[in-house]
Structure formats: structure tokens, C-alpha cells
Symmetry: C2
Subunit: 430 residues, 2 copies
């Protein structure tokens, strides 16, 4: 006998989780489709060199890579951005630019599993590439808004910032040579707090005044409306005018769409990665700010420079699906709490009637009613228990002369003497 | 620069293919849900021993396996049946039996790629486990029927057979010790033809009469109705009465459901695997018989005996998703030919109007209309070309005083002087 164990950091998805996950993904994908975005997929396994570049480095230890039977060095994808860059380089001659795609798929990382972190998890990315226009930024942030509204997540805030403004500030302070480290320190502010950021900046820069100016910038949104924040930035960093105007235009767009309530400016948002060059954003759930950003992204200057000479500027974002699902659970979101796999269960009380049971099930299913049929005759006790375990709201009894009794199981309310069309009508109304 | 190449036997899924695949999967999953089946998922990576058992053998070369960073021997799953068996053994105490699940996911095999065979492909499995009842067989074959009807695949035939009947025949002929080889030979009949089967059986059995009887059995459906075939079987193999009755009962059920036209008996169906023990089936597309079975399955005696002492009989089937997708392409199925990613494209003719374009897009999308917005002002030529490349049926012009002209792009029919609500109504009607 072999022990049926699962690898550390990996997990099965049981029906309840899987139903919720599929519902969330379907809702997101439907939103992306209404925006004219199209889905793609890429192989789970690619050449290691393609995924890691020629260097490798830090990421190297975190990825699953090996020699395949043909001696090729191959690796499981660790994100969806690198395969997308490779995809664009491979297919650019087939694709009309700008190209708007979404990709929801598993990725794998060998990092040490911790609470809420797994070695196999989902990413959900969407990008517009081949265009350097503010309108693309508008479309991405609007789509994030629409996706969360479609999921009935009501209280959220999209925090906007611009990498260019911070870069101008650092240049004006003469510390642009430290910009990567400074960005990473600021990026941690929600985790480590403002005091620790100050401390780390002083340690790095050895200069109180410069540190104070940077802190003033990342706090410029405190007690301000977004438009007031922009005015403070104009005073603090006159050289960043173009970037500040871009942020202002983005806000004007969302105002015209009537969705400005969900947007704010937060200059401490930097997104740690070097990759981003323009407007960047994170999305917090107002009731669960500590869970961190559930959707982050921004503008980048060139997607696929590793693989092609074609310049592919773009803008995109990624939803942390596992984090979002955890949040929905914690918020006791209707999607999670009102879950039922089937609309009705057909009780099986008499083997002689089994053909009738199958006929009834067949007709209900044709009407789109999800019908669980019990496939053996059993006492009612276990049948109720089975229904309860599956959270099924209604049970159906076959009575004499082809009639039916429908029971609402929780309240034990019976609806007797029904014809099949009455059953259909009743269940469709619910 | 790194060459953006994809591994041999792997491939990207471009938007058109991916849209079709998602649509087909969503339709199948919706059907499974109306039957009260629930989805599960399992890790892509498992312990090699869990997937292969302690032996390994032939499959060993075909799977991707390696030592991970922690020195564990791990492998990518090569089917969904073995992980399902492991899943049942892991979670059996949580799950109410019978358990009805579906699982649509990627699997990986290292075999040599040939036409239509890839190293990464999808499987779509559905099973009922923990019950040994003909009613479960009925439900599975009915669900196959419903799934294909839901996909608007009209001409198909589900070929039924029973492993027990053939086993009884072989026992009565005294050749049960060769049953595995005989099953495998018969299983190839659609590929190699009846003459080759005869030849191989004679070579194996060294006996003309035994071979003739086996051939008579596997041809007993020729020129017969299913019920006549059953009668011939009763005469030929009296000892198989129970199994023959089961087949007959299954046919009676599907007759009562009014779907018997799509079912037939074909005793040459054996399903090569040892795993199956009862009724087995394959599904052929009437217009593309040579493509082979698009959905096969049957009853097995014990799912998870490798991992648990709990006896888990069951019945299940698997849809060959890649083969089905190829078939839909070849049949020029409406799903494939009428594909359009967006309902309407908003032409971008004047940068000054861009806020209006976004507002219009936002309102149309709220109505569920898939709207592609061009994000830069361009000449009309490239805009038409972009619309055409995306197979978008309608284009929308913004005209003076907040009015719109909707153009059906292929026929170049214009609908002028519309208000936005007229546009919505028109597009929803289409």
C-alpha cells in the first residue's frame, strides 16, 4: 500500500473551494471579455533559459527545473509575465497591436511554504501591449474596478502612484544611484511601518534632510484629496510635471466614468520591481487592508526585450487569486456562503421507480436545473444527510399518479400535488 | 537576445483556440453541474511513487519526473485517474459516497510527439465512485449524451459493450489465460481492421475455431438492432446472462429517456486497460469516425486499491478534449466558425473625444456588451483592419450632439442617428 500523501506546499482543491474558484475566475474572465480582452495560454514547462534569462540568480533556487528525458534544461513557469513576453516575441507577426490579453493559470515556485503561501498557485494577469497611451492605463484601472464590482466586492480602494515622479524626486535630491534600494524600502511601508522606512532610509542615505524630503513625498496624500496631493507634488517636484499631469488625467477619466470614489493617490506605492516605469497601482480591500494588495500593476516600457528587438510598451495588472479567495472567505462573501452545488435532490425510495427518477432528472436538467439523483434506494435518514452535506436546498418526492412533492429542506416546508412543470417553475423562481 | 522557442511537443494557445477551448470546457462543466457533479483539482506535481506505484515500468519513460530542490522524486501527473484515486484515499473521510466529480486539467507525457499528439494536453474526466449500481452507469452515459447535445454536436453514436461478456466467452473457450492479449488485439480493430485482428488472434491462439467464435462475437452487432445483438449473445454465451441483462437494462433506460437513437452495441469495444470490469463504451462522431473515440469509459471494480483498503467501485469516462476540438474544427462547427471576441468596436477618430469613447465603452460593458475600444486616434483604414482581424461584427461612430452611427462591418450597413440606448438595444438583439 502506498501512502496517499501530497507534496509539501501543494494541496488538493476540494469541491467547495473549487466551485468558488471557478465562479470567481468565470466572473473575472467575463469582465475581461466585455473589455474585448482575449485569453491565451502558454506551456507549463519551458526552456529554463527562456524563463530565467542567461543569468538566473536569485529566482533560480525558487523554480522547479530539471533535465528532461531529452537532456533539455526545462522549468515550470514561475509567473505569467515572462511566458507572455516570450509569447509576444514568438507570435508578434500574427497579432494585431495593441494586443489585449488575459491569462489565468497555475504557476509554481519552490520557495518555503508559509501561511497562505503555496508552491503551486494561480495567477490572473491582464495586459495591453504595443501602445504607450494614457488611455490604456485608463482601460486597465477601469477594468480592475469593473472586475471587483462584478464580484460584488463593494469596499475597495485603488491606490495610484507614478514611478516617474519618485524618480524625478530622487534625481533632484541627487540620490538616483540608490533608486532601486529606495524603491524597495518604500515598497515595504505597509508591512514595516513609516518609522522603519525612515530608519532604513537614513541608514542607506546617511542624510536626514534627504530622508525627510522623501518621507514628505510619500506622505503627501495624508489628509488631502487626490487633486490636492497632486498640487503638493507639483510644488515639491516641479521637474515631474509631465508625470503628475498623467496621474491627473487618469483621475479626470475615472471621474467622468463616475467611479472616482474608489480611487486615491498614494505616493508610497512603488511596486518593487525594476520593470515598471510609469503609473503603478495596488488595490486594497477596505475591510481587510492587512491582507495586502489583491490587484497590482502598472505601466512598463518594454515587455519582451529579452527575446525581440521589437519595442513593446504596455500596461497590465495581476490579481492575486488565492489572496482574493481567502479574502472572500474572511468577508463571508455571498459567493462563499450561499454556495450549493445542486438545486434539488431526487429522493430514491423505491427501486421500481428508478426509471421514473432518471426521467424526472433528465427533464429537470434539460431545463438547466442542477439535479442530484440518488442512485440507490435508501432510508430517508441517510438521504437527508447526503442532501445536507451537499447544501442542496430542495428535495423532490415522487408520489402516486405521477405527481410530486417538493420540500424546502431547511424549513421542512412541503409543496405537494405538483406536476413536473410546477416543479420546474418553482425551482426556476428560486 | 534569447531565442523565444517553445519545447518540442508543447504549444501556445492563441486567442482564437483559447476562446473555443474555454467555451467548450464551460459548456461541458455546465452539463456536469446540472447532473450534480462537483469539480475538484489536484496538484500538477506529485510524488513519483504515488503516481507510478512501486513498479513504474513502461509508463516510467513517458513521464516527466525529477528530484526537486528538497531531493524528493516528483513527477508531473500523466492522467487524471491516478490523482483521483489518490485524492479519494486522502479525503474519503470528508466525502459523502457516492461521490460524483469532474476534473478538467492539463496532463503531461514525455512520449514522442506526432500529429495531433502533444506532451502537454487536456483531459476531462468524470466519475461516480463508491457505488456499484447500474443506475450509475445510466447516469454516466446519459451525461455523455447531454454533454454532446449541449455542444450542438448532433451526429454521434455511443458504442456499448461489457467486459464481463467477453471474459465469459473466453472462459467458455478455455482461453482466459490469454485474455489481456486478446482484449488488446480486439481493441485495435478500428485501427487495423478485422482481417488483421483475425490474423493476430490465430497467431496467438493457434486455433481457427476459437478465433472464429471470438470473431463471431465481436461481429454479432452487424445488421442487427441492439436488442437482436443481445439475443445473439445469449445464444453464443449462456453463462454471461447477468452481464447481458445489465446491458439490456441500460438500453431500456436510455429508451425511456428517449435518447436511444444515439446508442448501439458494439462487442468489439473492449477498452484496452485491465482497469475496467463492467460495461464499457466509446463515442464516435458519425461524420468523422476515423478520428476515433472522443469519449470513452466504463465501470471499474476498485479505484484506489493502491492507497487504501476501502473498496471504491465506480464508473467514469473521459473526453479527449484536444481530439474533440480538432473534430469541431474539421466539422466547421458553429462554435468555431461564428467566433467573435467582441460584439462591437468603438472607432477612435478624434483625440478630443477620448473621454466620450471611454464613457460609451463603460456603459456598453455594463450592459454585458463586449466592447473593444481603440486606444489611439488612427485613420479609418487601420481601424477597419483591426476590427476585421478580431472578427468584430459592428463598429460604432460617435457623431455630433452625442449621437451614434452603428455600422455592420461586413455588409457596410449603417444605422445612423442612434441614441446610446438604441445602440444597446440593437446589439443585444443581435
Amino acid at each position: 500500500m502506498i501512502q496517499p500523501k501530497v507534496l509539501k506546499g501543494f494541496r488538493d482543491s476540494l469541491p467547495r473551494q473549487e466551485i468558488i474558484k471557478k465562479e470567481v475566475i468565470a466572473t473575472l474572465e467575463k469582465t475581461f471579455s466585455t473589455y474585448g480582452f482575449v485569453p491565451i495560454d502558454t506551456p507549463a514547462l519551458e526552456y529554463t533559459e527562456v524563463l530565467l534569462g542567461k543569468g538566473g540568480g536569485e529566482t533560480d533556487k525558487q523554480i522547479f527545473h530539471f533535465l528532461d528525458n531529452g537532456g533539455r534544461d526545462v522549468a515550470l513557469r514561475f509567473d505569467l509575465t515572462v511566458p507572455f513576453a516570450r509569447f509576444m516575441a514568438t507570435h508578434t507577426h500574427h497579432l494585431q497591436l495593441p494586443f489585449k490579453r488575459f491569462h489565468v493559470a497555475k504557476v509554481w515556485r519552490g520557495e518555503n511554504p508559509q501561511k497562505g503561501r503555496y508552491r503551486e498557485f494561480f495567477q490572473c494577469d491582464f495586459d495591453i501591449v504595443g501602445i504607450d497611451s494614457l488611455q490604456a492605463d485608463v482601460e486597465i484601472v477601469t477594468m480592475i474596478h469593473s472586475a471587483l464590482v462584478a464580484l460584488d466586492v463593494e469596499k475597495f480602494t485603488i491606490l495610484l502612484s507614478h514611478r516617474g515622479i519618485l524618480n524625478e524626486l530622487l534625481a533632484s535630491l541627487g540620490v538616483e544611484n540608490h533608486s532601486t534600494e529606495i524603491l524597495r524600502i518604500i515598497d515595504k511601508i505597509s508591512k514595516i511601518g513609516a518609522d522603519a522606512v525612515q530608519e532604513q532610509l537614513i541608514t542607506l542615505l546617511q542624510d536626514q534632510k534627504t530622508t525627510d524630503t522623501i518621507l514628505k513625498y510619500i506622505h503627501s496624500h495624508k489628509d488631502n484629496t487626490p487633486f490636492e496631493t497632486l498640487e503638493e507634488m507639483r510644488v515639491l517636484i516641479p521637474s515631474a510635471e509631465t508625470h503628475i499631469n498623467h496621474l491627473q488625467q487618469l483621475l479626470t477619466y475615472v471621474e467622468h466614468l463616475g467611479i472616482e470614489d474608489r480611487f486615491t493617490i498614494d505616493p508610497s506605492i512603488t511596486r518593487g520591481l525594476d520593470y515598471y516605469t510609469g503609473i503603478v497601482y495596488e488595490t486594497l480591500l477596505d475591510d481587510l487592508p492587512d491582507i495586502g494588495s489583491i490587484c497590482s500593476g502598472g505601466r512598463y516600457n518594454d515587455l519582451a526585450s529579452l527575446y525581440t528587438k521589437q519595442h513593446l510598451p504596455g500596461v497590465g495588472a495581476s490579481i492575486g487569486l488565492d489572496r482574493l479567495l481567502t479574502a472572500l472567505e474572511e468577508l463571508d462573501h455571498p459567493l462563499v456562503s450561499e454556495l450549493s452545488a445542486s438545486d434539488v435532490i431526487i429522493f430514491n425510495q423505491d427501486e421500481e421507480l428508478s426509471i421514473h427518477y432518471h426521467k424526472t432528472a433528465h427533464l429537470l436538467r434539460k431545463e438547466g436545473i442542477s439535479t442530484l439523483l440518488l442512485l440507490e434506494t435508501k432510508k430517508m435518514g441517510p438521504q437527508f444527510k447526503y442532501a445536507q452535506a451537499h447544501h442542496i436546498p430542495y428535495g423532490l418526492y415522487h408520489t402516486e399518479q405521477g405527481q410530486f412533492t417538493l420540500r424546502h429542506l431547511e424549513s421542512r416546508t412541503d409543496y405537494p400535488h405538483l406536476k413536473l412543470e410546477d416543479v420546474v417553475e418553482h425551482l426556476k423562481r428560486m
